[in-house]
Symmetry: C2
Subunit: 437 residues, 2 copies
């Protein structure tokens, strides 16, 4: 028979079992944390009407989306979890309780040009809190505490949640009468980590912004000090803008409340260069960096928006949310050998029967499973050595061999595959379970 080459599309992630275990463990930790904070699960379809997904979008999104016709339907694969959330909330408004706290972890699709670390199919792990008409600013401080919990769960304690408020930036540009150039200025500011202060200044001058304004902008974005010092400086900043003052007040509230939520000062800071895209967020914005691995870029970002579902409903639904790009994060951490985990296999115990009559080994396996031990029994007819090799390759931590002797004496040895150590115990499920737990 002619064979088809078993290819996988580049830009999709397909892991070997051992890596998949690590990936799932990370995903589970994120989900556990979302649940710990009382978020409700959602699972919207991956295929939606193109008209619905593209109600707002334009430009890049339209180019990147996977779109196709099936029968009479013009369909697309979702490119994020925010647009499906908007649709969902508009559609189910009457059946939801607000503040509506939902998490969703699922695959999204973008027609990226494949390159190392760029994915066409990838997991996003989103949480959002939506208000019905209004949502207290204090929720903007709850989200960083969730980010904080997640990265600690993942084994990192040196990370920084950088926080800003879009109103401050908008107010700055208003005060400097540079609103029309706001988009271009933001784009330049956003590059400061990459290109440095001098280049930013030059690009701003090239934008034909007057020197006084350029100086103001440069002073603003290079402002030094602790979060509190920055806020104090902003409160005294000479600028004619109501929205600027509002932003500063919100930022002050957020910083105060973040501490109440138990986030340490070493894990967050005010960073006035954070803008997070150009037209979506309207208040608080976040980006999160691992201090020792800045090259990874932001590992969790988000912010506050004024009106989630305006393309589908008249209801005003302000919200605040963050998203973790799990596939990319896993890829990067794995490349850097930074996945911190203890779990290497699914099965905790492998039973190797070396007798004809399998009654006792199988019964034991069932009993161990009922006691909560993930137990595999090796049933193929192979040499003992091959069976041990199997346990070794799968990193199953404990192995027991059951042969004639073990049945006769009702004693057996539990082998710890990591240390090589053997413990002799009674051939009895509870004893075995207690020994390896």
């Amino acid at each position: 028979m002619e064979k088809t080459e078993p290819r996988t599309l580049t830009g999709t992630m397909e892991l070997l079992p051992r890596e998949q275990i690590l990936f799932n463990q990370m995903k589970q930790k994120i989900e556990n944390t979302y649940q710990k904070f009382g978020f409700l699960p959602l699972d919207t379809p991956i295929i939606e009407f193109s008209e619905v997904l593209l109600a707002k979008a334009g430009g890049e999104t339209e180019k990147q989306i996977y779109r196709f016709q099936k029968g009479d339907n013009d369909l697309s694969l979702r490119f994020d979890l925010t647009v499906p959330l908007s649709k969902y909330v508009a559609k189910n408004y009457g059946n939801l309780s607000f503040p509506f706290r939902r998490y969703q972890m699922g695959k999204v699709y973008r027609g990226e040009r494949p390159q190392k670390g760029r994915f066409r199919e990838f997991y996003q792990c989103d949480i959002d809190i939506l208000g019905d008409g209004e949502l207290g600013i204090i929720y903007d401080a709850e989200l960083p505490s969730i980010i904080n919990t997640i990265f600690r769960e993942l084994g990192f304690d040196q990370f920084t949640i950088r926080i800003n408020n879009r109103k401050i930036l908008n107010g700055l540009f208003e005060g400097l009468q540079q609103q029309e150039k706001a988009t271009s200025i933001l784009r330049i500011i956003d590059k400061i980590d990459k290109i440095g202060e001098k280049a930013v200044r030059e690009e701003l001058i090239n934008l034909e912004i007057n020197e006084i304004a350029v100086n103001k902008i440069m002073n603003f974005i290079t402002m030094e000090g602790t979060s509190d010092e920055k806020i104090q400086k902003l409160e005294n900043w000479e600028i004619e803008s109501q929205i600027f003052q509002e932003g500063v007040e919100e930022l002050k509230q957020v910083v105060k409340n973040i501490r109440l939520f138990g986030v340490m000062d070493s894990n967050f800071k005010v960073d006035l260069t954070i803008a997070r895209g150009l037209d979506y967020y309207t208040g608080t914005v976040y980006e999160t960096f691992l201090d020792e691995y800045p090259q990874i870029g932001s590992v969790c970002s988000g912010g506050r928006y004024e009106n989630l579902a305006e393309y589908y409903t008249d209801k005003k639904l302000p919200g605040v949310g963050v998203s973790i790009g799990l596939t990319r994060l896993f890829y990067q951490l794995n490349e850097l050998n930074l996945i911190k985990t203890t779990k290497k296999s699914i099965a905790e115990l492998l039973i190797i029967p070396m007798i004809e009559d399998l009654e006792e080994p199988i019964k034991l396996a069932t009993e161990l499973r009922n006691l909560g031990i993930k137990t595999e029994i090796y049933l193929n007819d192979k040499k003992l050595k091959a069976k041990f090799k199997y346990a070794d390759k799968l990193k199953i931590p404990y192995v027991i061999v059951i042969g004639e002797d073990e049945i006769k004496t009702q004693k057996m040895a539990i082998k710890n595959m990591e240390t090589g150590e053997e413990i002799r115990v009674d051939l009895e499920a509870k004893t075995i379970a207690n020994t390896i737990k």
Copy 2:
């Protein structure tokens, strides 16, 4: 602004949070069971090269598949999890350990005409055990024990795993010299539950099968007795066919070993009418029915195949697997009000602060989360009544209110939302956690 109607494509499942919690709980129970038996997780991409997905397929599959062009790539959405598994194993053969036990739970896509209970996007929950060259028949008995565990976990104890062996059917047709009409005969036999014996006989006669053969077939498929009695009858069945004898011997082995795996006689039976499709399975086949709800149809099916990945590799990879169509199963059970679960909400406790200074309530929430209690704190500025209504709608089982008094006395009441009962305890995380656990 003109609004886009927030529509969801028919044939996709989009649940309200309360139902989603139930769905996820079912999914989790299935996954836990798969892991309990030591299966390894896989997560292959949903988008694949059409050439790869359609290497074997034809007919219905080609018509139903979601296929589209993106750039230079001819892509499709997977229509099951078996073809991606074949590709995966062919591709990663050298990096896998055999018997390779994998589970995968993910969405698959079929362009079904939308009708009640038919889905275009639905979850399949698959397990397969693959051998490298060979795989012992005893694994065919392990799978029913997994099905058995799952349905008990889901709250059902009255279900029947119907078991047959394709070799017996093939041998029968061979012995009757009806191999050419085998496909048509199987199709007719398969309908016996729906159309009855008489109609089956008539259809067989219409197929121009001679009366002796029709009588043999009818005697065969209407054979009565326990599983053991049927096997005994089959052993004495007068038919000239080697393959028939092989099938009977395999079936005998499977029935014997199923009992070793702890499946009760009330939960499985030999059913000689089970065929499971026409060209895929080559040995043991299973279908599972809930005894009290036959209208749901088979809730878990599968079987033994000789060569999983023959379209991609020369390696011979026999295997045995079963699949649960979770989306359809959930839909059906939900319609019949049969979802058996205790968990109705994510959050276990709602803290309602009725004071300005949120320091203490927020600190308490953090402490409770650290103690493993899924805790939500209501932070929006609303009347107490509205906050209680929120807890009620979300079915959060416990609520505590923290006001001036509670802070002053350091005493508070935990309200059980189901019974209305209030328990007064110290305002202290550990005490609260112990009270509601």
